[in-house]
């Protein structure tokens, strides 16, 4: 594989997604610390810096960093309350955990030489499956058999209901797939595109004005996408939660 690529002309946009053991070696056990581990740890540190250190003063008049922490809290809190109702606030810490993890991972992945943990299906798929399973369990625990009313659309004509039920059932099971692929695809595509433009810039040398402008533009877009995808993942989680709490349409 490396044979055709050693001319300095090759662009390897996917290399940035490789998961490698952090301390050398080639063995990759389930517990081996990798670059993914490192960047997850950095995510935790960043969250702790913003939310723990930033709110240390507990000021009635907040500092700037405390304001950011409070705004994030208020943003997610309001989203859960508005979309899924006040009884969904029990699950607010879960949503907050998912949202902060994704938003920090996405933004940290924008650092040069950074590793975007949320660009991996293993990560987004695990989170989407966790949401899917817990939402289904919550739905059955809270509503019992009535949870199946989610698939039995009472407002539709009786003849159409079985057909709609099949469609609804399929769409329900496709949820974790779209939920995870959307985030992973967005993260991967944006970073790959940037890497491709960076490769052009490397080839063109000092005259690489067009690729650099393109990188800047894509980077600006990715900054937006980093937030929006985290928001989309979180709000979809909350919408699924609403379906579980109020299955009747």
């Amino acid at each position: 594989m490396a044979t055709e690529a050693e001319g300095g002309f090759a662009i390897h946009p996917m290399d940035q997604f490789l998961v490698k053991p952090l301390f050398g070696g080639s063995e990759l056990h389930w517990y081996t610390p990798t670059n993914a581990t490192l960047w997850m740890a950095i995510t935790i540190v960043a969250i702790a810096l913003l939310f723990v250190l930033g709110t240390r003063g507990r000021g009635i008049v907040p500092t700037r960093i405390q304001s950011i922490a409070e705004l994030t809290y208020g943003f997610v809190h309001k989203m859960v309350e508005d979309v899924a109702g006040p009884e969904a606030l029990r699950y607010f810490p879960y949503v907050m955990t998912i949202f902060t993890f994704i938003v920090f991972s996405n933004f940290l992945g924008l650092w040069p030489y950074g590793f975007t943990t949320t660009s991996h299906l293993a990560v987004t798929g695990t989170m989407a499956l966790a949401v899917f399973i817990s939402v289904t369990v919550i739905g059955f625990v809270k509503n019992g058999v009535h949870f199946l009313e989610l698939f039995w659309i009472k407002s539709a004509p009786l003849v159409l209901r079985p057909i709609l039920a099949i469609i609804e059932l399929i769409s329900y099971f496709v949820r974790p797939v779209s939920h995870s692929l959307r985030l992973m695809g967005n993260m991967m595509a944006g970073h790959a595109v940037m890497k491709v433009f960076a490769g052009f810039a490397g080839v063109l040398g000092l005259g690489a004005i067009a690729p650099i402008v393109a990188i800047s533009a894509v980077y600006a877009l990715e900054t937006l996408v980093a937030f929006i995808q985290a928001y989309v993942f979180a709000i979809l989680t909350v919408i699924y939660l609403r379906d579980a709490l109020h299955p009747a349409h």
Partner: protein, 182 residues
């Protein structure tokens, strides 16, 4: 999987390792990623539930409380200010009324004093006028008497000059008196 691992080990010996296809679909890394993801999420979850969320919610609640109590206090102070203004206005009005009353009273008193003084002065003037009139009347009566005496004297002198020794003094006086009366 084991053979893949050894193959990867062989490639790792090269200077640069490049991805084949999508690293996202390399399922050998999945257990590792999922394990570390779960660890990360559990750590974040505990940070959230133990430290972050209680702290932020308490800060927000305290701020809301402070703002409400401040607003209440402001409302209270406003009420007090309004009351004070009311009291001030009332005091002003009372003072004005009092001043008017005092002015009225003083005026009445002065009027009374003035009236009394006037009455006294009038009485005095009347008394003095009466005394003056009496004196004038006396002076006049005296003057009439004197005129009669002077006229009698003058008549006697004239008669004694014109008709020496012929006329009696009593007759002349009677004649003068009769003339004066007429």
């Amino acid at each position: 999987m084991a053979s893949e691992a050894t193959e990867a080990a062989g490639h790792a010996a090269e200077a640069v390792e490049h991805a084949q296809g999508m690293p996202q679909l390399d399922f050998t890394t999945y257990p590792n990623q999922i394990f570390w993801l779960v660890v990360t999420l559990v750590v974040i979850y505990f940070l959230m539930t133990r430290v972050i969320l209680p702290r932020i919610s308490s800060v927000l609640a305290e701020r809301a409380k402070t703002i409400t109590s401040d607003l209440e206090r402001a409302e209270e102070l406003k009420q007090k200010a309004a009351e004070a203004e009311e009291a001030l206005k009332k005091a002003e009005a009372d003072a004005k009324a009092e001043a008017r009353r005092i002015i009225e009273e003083t005026k009445a008193e002065i009027q009374k004093d003035l009236d009394a003084a006037m009455k006294k002065a009038e009485a005095e003037i009347a008394k003095m006028a009466a005394a003056s009139e009496a004196k004038i009347a006396e002076i006049r009566a005296h003057a009439v008497e004197s005129v009669a005496a002077v006229a009698t004297d003058v008549a006697q002198e004239i008669v004694s000059v014109v008709f020496p020794g012929k006329a009696k003094a009593e007759d002349i006086a009677a004649a003068v008196a009769k003339r004066a009366k007429g």
